[in-house]
């Protein structure tokens, strides 16, 4: 049995109906533990006081905003190459979640930046490239909404996603070239022994896992909705024909 079997909508519906409650429950538990731990049981930072705790929302949201775009890219390629409808619908379902994550990252960043940097917004490379990423999400969602034929829409948004990915990367480096940053560098990486002190690190990892699970649950839910909407449309069309 290969992974492509799940591209069958019927099988996808069956597996996802089993997965959805589990992933939802797991996401709820992980998020509650991670956020509760982060907000109430970690010490205040020496310099930043309690504002540092917004990190538990900001970092996972920012990571997800980028990763969801990558997921959409993979799903679009699967659609363009192998024409599995579930894949196109999953990419469609992921876009609004990605946009929301981008907005959460920007909003929490602004709320943290106001007391720490003394400004809500700065034209910093990271902030600016996130704003541009948000614009890419907007354009992608708008194109899905604008095209009537679902297969045409899936094709066009797939091509847009491929081209957009290249330009999103280009913008990232162009923006780096354009302005000096205020935002700190990456503080998390896999090949370092200790990224931040364990006291902050463990709840942060829990929160990241919670966001990933939360995304999976939302994605399954939204993809199921899209499939059901597609079925409903087909049934209505059949009824009109009869």
């Amino acid at each position: 049995m290969s992974i492509w079997d799940y591209a069958n909508p019927r099988r996808f519906m069956r597996v996802s109906s089993w997965l959805l409650p589990w992933s939802t429950a797991l996401a709820a538990v992980t998020l509650a533990v991670g956020l509760g731990w982060g907000f109430f049981f970690t010490p205040d930072d020496f310099r930043q006081g309690s504002t540092v705790k917004i990190l538990y929302l900001h970092v996972p949201a920012a990571m997800m905003a980028i990763n969801i775009w990558v997921m959409m890219l993979v799903a679009s390629m699967i659609w363009l190459i192998r024409r599995h409808h579930v894949s196109a619908l999953a990419a469609k379902a992921a876009a609004p979640i990605g946009l929301t994550m981008t907005l959460i990252a920007l909003a929490t960043g602004a709320i943290w930046g106001q007391p720490m940097w003394g400004t809500w917004w700065a034209w910093d490379p990271r902030l600016t490239s996130f704003l541009i990423l948000g614009l890419f999400y907007l354009g992608y969602i708008a194109l899905w909404e604008a095209v009537e034929n679902p297969d045409t829409a899936a094709d066009l948004t797939g091509v847009l996603c491929l081209v957009g990915s290249v330009f999103a990367l280009l913008s990232r480096y162009a923006v780096l070239f354009w302005s000096q940053g205020l935002h700190q560098g990456a503080s998390l990486s896999l090949d370092r022994k200790e990224n931040v002190h364990d006291v902050f690190w463990l709840p942060l990892v829990t929160c990241i896992a919670g966001f990933v699970l939360f995304f999976v649950a939302l994605l399954l839910l939204r993809t199921r909705t899209e499939i059901r909407a597609r079925r409903l449309k087909a049934l209505l069309a059949r009824e009109r024909m009869a």
Partner: protein, 218 residues
């Protein structure tokens, strides 16, 4: 390809509104900005290059929605798609025609507009060079956006939402090259990046645009 190019050029010149319109729009944007930010020469000279680049970008956007739409309406696009010339070639020729009608006049006229903003003569060269290198990329990227929205009834606003984020790297490097040139800093890096974007976009995006047109004609 040359036939398509000549046809498009002839159409845009004779139908009116193509050739002069982008330039007139450019002039209007350039005229309006000082009303918004005030007439101090120092401020205008500081922001001049950026304004000229943004104005060029908007002027380029203005005529994009007609790039394929008029041909799609009268059926010429179907004929072009079935012609022996590959659709990628058609897209490239049409993007080139679009550049000759909008980008090239803007580039040549930019020093005159630079005069309005009190830019010193050495900056004109940087302005000319960066616009000459960068505006072809604007036309090719725009052709891709126009190809995506060709089947839509009201694609104009969507087109700008799709295309403007794609313009970001071109704008950054273009404006940065002029700014560095004006400040006497080495400006070769942004110019090279700008040329790279133009070449890369011209080489790859016609394929994406042709794919989008084929989907839309299906």
């Amino acid at each position: 390809m040359i036939a398509v190019l000549v046809r498009d050029l002839r159409l845009s010149i004779r139908s009116g509104g193509g050739f002069g319109l982008a330039l007139a729009f450019f002039l209007i944007v350039v005229t309006l900005v000082p009303f918004g930010v005030g007439p101090e020469a120092a401020v205008l000279a500081r922001i001049g290059p950026g304004i000229l680049w943004v104005a060029a970008l908007l002027a380029c956007l203005l005529s994009l929605d007609r790039l394929f739409a008029t041909d799609a309406e009268d059926g010429a696009l179907d004929l072009l798609a079935t012609a022996p010339l590959p659709l990628e070639g058609v897209v490239a020729a049409k993007a080139l025609a679009h550049w000759i009608v909008t980008g090239l006049p803007l580039t040549l006229a930019a020093p005159v507009f630079g005069l309005l903003y009190d830019l010193p003569p050495p900056v004109w060269g940087w302005l000319l060079g960066s616009l000459a290198l960068g505006t072809p990329a604007l036309s090719v990227i725009g052709a891709f956006g126009a190809a995506l929205t060709v089947g839509l009834k009201r694609g104009g606003l969507l087109l700008s939402l799709l295309v403007l984020p794609l313009y970001v790297p071109t704008l950054i490097f273009g404006a940065e090259a002029v700014r560095r040139g004006a400040d006497g800093l080495p400006a070769a890096t942004p110019l090279l990046m700008l040329g790279g974007i133009t070449l890369g976009a011209a080489a790859l995006l016609p394929f994406a645009a042709a794919a989008a047109i084929r989907v839309n004609l299906r």
